[in-house]
Structure formats: structure tokens, C-alpha cells
């Protein structure tokens, strides 16, 4: 098995006086989709924000592509090849869709071929290219948020609940886009509450509870074992 693209060892993160992450150990394999699952409030979003650097780990190490990035500032982590789609989408609503995308291409001008590909994946972006991003619907904003992360080739994508609150038709667009990324060999660490999407996309799974990873394995193993789902997450995928 090849080296993981991302490894967390004993990562602890505090937010104010709260110890949110309490020794996270996680390996994200190179290529494919790793699902980060768990109940609300167990530390999934904090894990992603610690990896990108918005929260600083108090203890532990984060290794990305063989390099220790634990103390690197956020821009350096992004330039190292980590794309981040936050839970709140992080859209620049006073900027147009075009300006959001131009900004996303941090290393140079937005490649026209890449832009056209993104148009094929997310058609509304072309329709509303010159519109203010603040006037887009929730689903369109989510498309823009993911398209922005995809504006340049990244080694790893951290994506936080991309289907939250979206209509089924738009969820299928999101799933299609993530499959495209996966087919291109990208590594994705995905937090997702929609288990149908998780099952369709995930290759491996890490389940969190109380600020720790409590189970890792293949998605097929988890999907085929209702008792395991019940024990680890307090619910069954069959119910979704």
C-alpha cells in the first residue's frame, strides 16, 4: 500500500477552553475518497479546519505529502496542494462568480480549458458567470464553492458537508462532480451526513466520536454491517 497523502498523529485542538480534538489519528490514502463520519459535534469540522490551519493543533503532527505541515500558515498549506471547501461555503458574495473563480486560481490566470470543464460539471456557473455570487441560490453557491476548490489541480480536497440542505437534483450534481475529481486521481477527505452519498462515493471511512477516530475501514465493510453502523454511529445506513 502506498504512503497516505495525509496523516494525523495524536492531533489535539482546543477552541477557547474546550478540548475538541483529543488525539486524532487518521490516514487518508492517496487517491480515492475517505469519508469522515460521526454524529454532530464530535469534531469532524474541527478536524478539517485543523488540517487547513484555521485552528492550530495544540499537540500532534500533521503530515501532508511527506512533509510536516503542523506549524505552517494557512496559505502555505493551500499552496502545498490542499483545497478546502468549508461548511459555510466561504463564497465572496460581493464578487461575481467569475471573480470568485479568478481568485481561486492562485498560481496564475484561470485556465480556459479548466473553466470549460467546470462549466460542464456545474452548468449554472456559466449561466450566472457575471452575476454577483450573493444572488445565487444555496445550491449554486455550493457548486461555486466546490468549483473554486477545483479551479486548480490539488493533491487533496477537504470538503465539509457539500450536500447539506440541498435539493436531490443538486445533490446528484455534487456527487457527479466529486466522482469526476475521484476519477482524476485526486484524494478527497469528505465530511458528509447524507449516507446515501457517503456510500456512493466513499472508498474508506473514518468514524469519529468524542474528538477521536474510533473506527477506520473500507466503506463496503461499514455499508454491509448494520450492527456496526448502529454501534459506531447510533444509526443504520439502511434507514437513509
Amino acid at each position: 500500500m502506498s504512503d497516505p497523502v495525509l496523516s494525523l498523529r495524536g492531533v489535539c485542538t482546543d477552541i477557547a477552553q474546550y478540548h475538541i480534538l483529543q488525539g486524532v489519528d487518521l490516514d487518508v490514502p492517496r487517491g480515492g475518497v475517505t469519508m469522515l463520519l460521526g454524529r454532530n459535534g464530535v469534531g469532524k469540522t474541527t478536524t478539517l479546519r485543523t488540517i487547513i490551519g484555521h485552528w492550530q493543533a495544540r499537540e500532534g503532527t500533521i503530515t501532508f505529502d511527506g512533509a510536516d505541515i503542523t506549524r505552517l500558515p494557512v496559505p502555505a498549506r493551500a499552496r502545498a496542494g490542499i483545497g478546502f471547501v468549508p461548511e459555510d461555503m466561504g463564497i465572496f458574495s460581493d464578487l461575481t462568480v467569475e471573480e470568485n473563480m479568478v481568485l481561486a486560481a492562485a498560481s496564475g490566470p484561470l485556465d480556459p480549458a479548466r473553466r470549460d470543464w467546470l462549466f460542464s460539471v456545474f452548468p449554472p456557473l456559466q449561466t450566472f458567470w457575471r452575476s454577483s455570487a450573493g444572488t445565487l441560490s444555496g445550491g449554486q453557491k455550493q457548486m461555486l464553492s466546490i468549483a473554486r476548490a477545483m479551479a486548480e489541480d490539488r493533491t487533496l480536497y477537504l470538503i465539509d458537508e457539500p450536500t447539506k440542505g440541498l435539493a436531490p437534483a443538486i445533490i446528484s450534481t455534487m456527487a457527479g462532480a466529486l466522482k469526476e475529481l475521484k476519477a482524476q486521481g485526486a484524494s478527497i477527505l469528505l465530511v458528509e451526513q447524507n449516507f446515501a452519498v457517503a456510500r456512493a462515493l466513499g472508498d474508506t471511512v473514518a468514524i469519529m466520536d468524542d474528538g477521536r477516530i474510533v473506527w477506520t475501514g473500507a466503506m463496503a465493510t461499514l455499508a454491509g454491517d448494520a450492527a456496526l453502523q448502529e454501534r459506531l454511529m447510533g444509526l443504520s445506513m439502511e434507514a437513509h
Binding site: I52, P75, F92, E99, F122, P123, S137, T173
Partner: protein, 343 residues
């Protein structure tokens, strides 16, 4: 590459009322100008006051534009901004005094060259001072508003005292370069040449700033950073460097505003920046924190209103801008064109 699954795009279109409400601040300036004409009555007086108000507004805008971006980008309340206005005025006027031979001859070329050199010296010195101010005074107190107020006010006092040490405690009187003295007459109205120059400089700077903010990548980073700095960093941009650049540029603009204001008033004092900060803060607040367009509209409203009211009812001139701020904040508590900031 696979085609996207079918779905029907929707567009959350704004209602007509919402669109009109967004455009309303842009109508305020012409509305105030028309109201001024209706109340003043005399065309020549109205024209003179309007040019004077626009000139004053443009100079306030030059001083306020940097401050609003600094606040919007890094959430820093910099009361020390007034010090850059004063330092700019003293440096610029010192250059003009040193170039007395150029300013005293009725040569447009030499006069403009002297003013340009004074502006260059003022912006260079205040830009450098801003860089040092950010490193020494502001950087240790990011994220702590109360401390920011205390240390930047302290910085302002120290710099004012340094002006006393370097240039002496007295005010300095100056005269404008020869070709910028006097007025031209248009439609029976006397319009001071210097005020027309101030309007032109203000307009050029506003257009340049707009072009930089909307047509360049650094401008995009600044606008995006004002809304959601965390996300800008996650895209790979070193926002701290951008902020330092904006802080330096804002300080330099304050210095330019200072030298222009000094030439406008024909007297400079160490406390002039501190006095101007009242108007500058009013402009930044009513414009919407972080909004350059808002600061531009706010500055012109302040300048025009103060001139009209001073003519119509001089005793009310001092409170007119406070009244304007109160009215606008009651209408739009976030200012006229607030920047939508991430939570």
C-alpha cells in the same frame, strides 16, 4: 468527462424594491445637490458652494479611503490615522516652503511640479511611517478592539508631539502656489482654482482605486479579504502581506490628504489630523465599514452638506454632519453600502 446530471438552474432574483434600495445611496448626492439649489436660490452661490463642498468631500475621501479598507480587511480601528494626515501636511508644506522659488513664480509648470514633489514626499514619508506603525503599534493588538483604540490613540499623541519637536509648537501659515491662487468665474459664480484641482485629484484617485479594486487580482484579494479573510488565506494568498500593503497605501493617502488639506486651509497644525478624524470617522461609518464606494459617497455628502448648511444657517454647520450620520444610521444601521462580512 462525464456530463453533469440534469437540473434546472434557479436564480434568486432581487425584487424591484430591493434593487432600488441598493441603488438609493447613489441617488443621495444628486438629491442633495438639487435640494441645495432649491433652498439656496441663487445659482452663482449654489455653484460656488457645490464646488467647495465637492472639493472638501474629495479631500476627506482621500483621507478616509485607506482607513475604511484597513478596518474592513483586518478589523483594525486605527485612531492613529490622523497622525499620518498631520505628518503628510508638515512634510508636504516643508517641501513647498523649500521650493519657494518655484511656488512664488507664476509658472503653472513649476507650481504643479512643486505640488507634485510635495505630494510625493508626503506620501513617501507617511507610507513608511504607516509601515512602522503597523509593525510596532498595531500588530501586537490584532483582534483586541479596546487595546487597538488605546495604543493607536497613544501612537497619535506621540507622533503629534514629535511634530512639535521637529517643526515647533506653532501653526505654520502658507500661501498656495501663484497659479493656484484666485478663482475663475463660470456662470457668474466664483470657483477657486485650488478647489477645482482638489475635485480633479479626488476623482482621479477614486477612479484609479476603483480600477485597482475591480480589475486587478490584488484588488480582488482586497475585496474578498474584506468579506472573508479566512477563505482568502485558504485559497493560498498571504493576506497579512496584502494588509500591510493596504495599511501603507492608506497611510500614504492620508498623507496626501493632509498636504492637500493644508493647501486648502493655508495653515497647518500638529492637531489638524486629529480634528479631521471626526469627519473621517463619520464618512467611514456612514459609508459602511470596508466600502470604498460608500466612503466616496459619504465624503461628498459630508462636504456638500457642511457647505450648504454653513451658508444657510451657520450655527447649524457644526452639527449638520452629526445629524447626517444619525439619519443615515437610522436608515441603514450598517452604513450605506456595507460589505457583507463572513460570520
Amino acid at each position: 468527462m462525464a456530463a453533469a446530471p440534469e437540473h434546472r438552474p434557479t436564480f434568486a432574483a432581487l425584487s424591484l424594491g430591493d434593487r432600488l434600495a441598493r441603488a438609493a445611496p447613489f441617488v443621495l448626492i444628486p438629491a442633495l445637490v438639487v435640494l441645495g439649489y432649491a433652498t439656496i436660490g441663487s445659482t452663482s452661490s449654489w455653484l460656488t458652494l457645490t464646488v467647495s463642498g465637492l472639493a472638501m468631500g474629495m479631500m476627506i475621501f482621500i483621507m478616509a479611503s485607506g482607513l475604511t479598507l484597513v478596518f474592513g480587511l483586518m478589523d483594525v480601528i486605527n485612531f492613529g490615522h490622523g497622525a499620518f494626515i498631520s505628518v503628510g501636511a508638515f512634510v508636504g508644506v516643508s517641501v513647498l516652503i523649500a521650493l519657494g522659488g518655484w511656488t512664488g513664480t507664476p509658472s503653472l509648470m513649476l507650481n504643479i511640479a512643486a505640488v507634485l514633489l510635495a505630494a510625493l514626499a508626503a506620501t513617501t514619508v507617511t507610507g513608511a511611517l504607516g509601515w512602522g506603525f503597523e509593525r510596532v503599534i498595531v500588530r501586537p493588538v490584532y483582534g483586541a478592539h479596546l487595546k487597538q483604540i488605546l495604543v493607536t490613540v497613544g501612537g497619535l499623541i506621540v507622533i503629534e508631539q514629535l511634530i512639535h519637536v521637529i517643526w515647533g509648537p506653532d501653526e505654520i501659515f502658507l500661501t498656495r502656489p501663484e497659479t493656484l491662487k484666485g478663482a475663475i468665474t463660470f456662470a457668474g459664480a466664483a470657483m477657486e482654482k485650488y478647489r477645482l484641482l482638489a475635485v480633479a485629484v479626488g476623482l482621479v484617485l477614486f477612479v484609479a482605486m476603483r480600477l485597482i479594486l475591480t480589475r486587478t487580482k490584488i484588488g480582488l484579494i482586497v475585496r474578498a479579504g474584506v468579506q472573508n479573510g479566512e477563505m482568502v488565506e485558504a485559497l493560498g494568498y498571504r493576506l497579512r502581506l496584502v494588509f500591510i500593503g493596504v495599511f501603507v497605501a492608506g497611510s500614504a493617502l492620508a498623507g496626501l490628504g493632509g498636504v492637500m488639506w493644508g493647501l486648502y486651509q493655508e495653515v497647518i497644525t500638529a492637531g489638524m489630523g486629529e480634528e479631521m478624524m471626526i469627519l473621517v470617522f463619520i464618512v467611514v461609518i456612514i459609508g459602511g465599514l470596508g466600502s470604498v464606494e460608500g466612503a466616496f459617497i459619504g465624503a461628498l455628502l459630508v462636504g456638500l452638506l457642511q457647505n450648504y448648511v454653513a451658508f444657510l444657517e451657520p450655527k447649524l454647520a457644526l452639527v449638520s454632519n452629526i445629524g447626517l450620520m444619525t439619519a443615515i444610521l437610522m436608515w441603514r444601521p450598517q452604513g450605506m453600502l456595507p460589505v457583507v462580512k463572513a460570520k
